[in-house]
Symmetry: C2
Subunit: 220 residues, 2 copies
DNA sequence: CATTTTATTTTGACTAATCAAACTAGATGG
DNA sequence: CCATCTAGTTTGATTAGTCAAAATAAAATG
């Protein structure tokens, strides 16, 4: 069985590689894992000799099929746990990411299957992140953000691309959660601002980097 | 924060010391922790320098107040998790001890408080083991076992002193669970047997070591 | 192209947790 | 009391995961 450290590295490589194209540079991995670069290099070498990643010195790292499989299991556990904490135990969606970070390594398949069943085989977690099925499949949703979707057309929020508790609390307070309606009123290039209106016509202005974190559905 | 290894040692010392009198010998600790004696000695020395245990070479180990406090927190987490797994997620009582062994180190106070609230501040776990309150207090129950309680008097089972899945499955199959009624019919010294009758007058014979694991209430 | 900067790798060291095996300190007992 | 047994302790290694700092490769720049 992989240690929880190995699980975290694989999950991190998987999630970081979503953004970027091919190989994940060691510097990015080290930053994401909060370790010094030498530590990332050392770890990646052992992952490589275990055939969990492909490593090319001074280029970067990518997951093998075996590594992807483990990463997806960890992501599945993480997101099912988040949903359990929100829906069954009543924690706030801003708190659950941190909690799940530890619990994802401590739940067995048996327990995760029970959680999955009790929640009715959910497809997404509280932040709209997709939950891989036991065999690693999942649907991709909402690839357009408030920073680029058409204006004046009401949309439904489907996903939030940030786990930071402060951002999530802000989002929650302003009704920016999956399922909520939102319309982009205007955008201004120079001021980098996106003006939106949420439920009850409440207006709100976001910087574009925040707007980019809020994904809405494709179909109007 | 103590590592999960330290938490397990402290919990183990706490639980093993329940049986025995004063100091727990290193051999007993090593056996209970599944490590070689030298490992237990080394660990206990570091616990001792952290003021979590009192250690006297060639005598044994006992918990300090600080050590007891940690041990009780771990026991509290363990037992609340067991109850959650049984009552909310529907796992069998024979499975939950093993699951809780890992989860007890991964749940935060925040999560454990929510579990406690959701379960209605329970006093005992699925095996009848008492759940310490956040400040470490708990009630002692059922100090008499089927091996020594009076015969022919119906009793209620309050606690099972064994976490072995096989034993628990056996007990479950025969209705030997907390809350169930049971009566000792007869005992035989030479054959070491305890004959009991459970719900619906079903008869069953236990060896005395098994009988000693089933605790019943004091008052008839 | 030679030089400087930056990213990555290497080297050397450390901590926590463990085991195997050699070594006592006490108890047991003739 | 000496010999032996046994439980417990020491010593010497090992593994996983990490950091600091030196070394180096590659990229960027004048
Ligand atoms: Mn994690
Ligand atoms: Mn999430
Ligand atoms: Mn444990
Ligand atoms: Mn229990």
């Amino acid at each position: 069985m992989p240690s929880s450290t190995v699980e975290d590295y694989l999950k991190c490589i998987y999630l970081e590689a979503q953004r970027r194209d091919g190989m994940l540079p060691m510097g990015a991995l080290a930053r994401a894992m909060n370790v010094v670069p030498g530590t990332a290099t050392a770890m990646v070498k052992t992952l490589s000799s275990d055939r969990l990643v492909n490593y090319r010195a001074r280029v970067g790292v990518s997951l093998t099929d075996a590594g992807t499989e483990i990463a997806l299991q960890v992501v599945r556990r993480h997101r099912l746990i988040e949903l359990l904490l929100v829906q069954v135990l009543g924690l706030d969606w801003s708190e659950v990411h941190g909690e799940a970070e530890a619990l994802e390594h401590a739940v067995s398949d048996r327990v995760i299957d029970r959680i999955d069943a009790m929640l009715g085989h959910p497809r997404v977690d509280p932040h709209g992140d997709p939950i891989p099925s036991p065999d690693g499949a999942f649907a991709l949703v909402g690839t357009v953000s408030l920073a680029e979707c058409p204006r004046k057309v009401p949309r439904t929020i489907v996903r939030i691309l940030d786990q930071d508790p402060d951002f999530l609390l802000f989002a929650e307070k302003n009704g920016l959660m999956p399922g909520q309606k939102v319309t982009v009123v205007s955008r201004d290039k120079s001021s980098d601002a996106v003006e939106i209106s949420v439920r009850k016509g409440k207006k709100l202005t976001l910087g574009s980097s925040a707007a980019r974190k809020i994904l809405v559905d494709e179909a109007s």
